[in-house]
Assembly symmetry: C2
Homo-oligomer: 151 residues x 2
């Protein structure tokens, strides 16, 4: 779906603050409030905007341990299987299938190292998981668009 410059400015405004009123955004980009809403609705329908969420400070919520876990799965495991299995863990912030030796990389937030160990054991115990390999995040250097945080 082709976005024009107006759409990009609207998305940019919403990315900075999704609670800004349509009238306010309209004043910035040069449209009326209903016109902005129609574009946002169109972006939602097209899947360019997939939803609205909160930006959270993991540490402030008590999730002080972050880790990246490589998942090695059985050969007949589908991405959907992995998704289903991981979606039950509130500690899993994001997950993607990847090229290379591992099948998926999972971003996990936990209260502390002890909590992370428990989560890792449970994930490693999933029937589709054969092996895991994880690194702990020391300090988040940049968190521009990606990288979420738990709730």
């Amino acid at each position: 779906m082709p976005l024009n410059e107006l759409d990009e400015r609207i998305v940019h405004a919403l990315a900075a603050d999704a609670r800004r009123s349509y009238a306010d955004i309209g004043a910035e980009v040069g449209l009326s409030a209903p016109a902005v809403k129609r574009r946002v609705d169109r972006l939602l329908a097209a899947g360019a905007i997939t939803g609205f969420t909160v930006r959270v400070d993991p540490a402030a919520l008590g999730w002080q341990t972050e880790a990246l876990v490589e998942l090695y799965c059985r050969h007949n495991t589908s991405p959907a299987d992995i998704r289903r299995g991981l979606s039950r863990y509130p500690e899993v912030a994001s997950a993607s299938t990847v090229t290379g030796e591992a099948d998926a990389v999972v971003q996990v937030f936990a209260a502390d190292v002890r909590h992370f160990e428990q989560v890792l054991e449970r994930i490693a115990g999933e029937p589709f998981v054969t092996r895991t390999k994880s690194v702990l995040v020391l300090s988040p250097l940049l968190r521009r668009y990606g990288a979420g945080s738990p709730g």
Copy 2:
């Protein structure tokens, strides 16, 4: 800041859909709308919730290639050096220093594989970088809690 179970459920509801009305969330967690708002205001004031944003489909915005890049740096490189060096790249969505062999893991969004290759070459050419090792993201399985995408 200590969050009780009610706060966590409210944050979780907002993470799933930040546009849900306070009354709606209140019905789910067993509170009235004003009570939910007061808790959200408190979470905002405490910095636990840092803002509201849109979840965007990177592909729809023209960023169809995502990669995770492990960075191996000179031994005297500080996290601040890495941060400074990477912050100049708009394609870098997030970066963290990590335990293990690599010094940092960087999440990169690019228009296509060709674009990614160019970005990777430039990052690999940074004076503090000795080696890189990257995997391409095949499909994003889970992208919770505002995790995301460029804008």
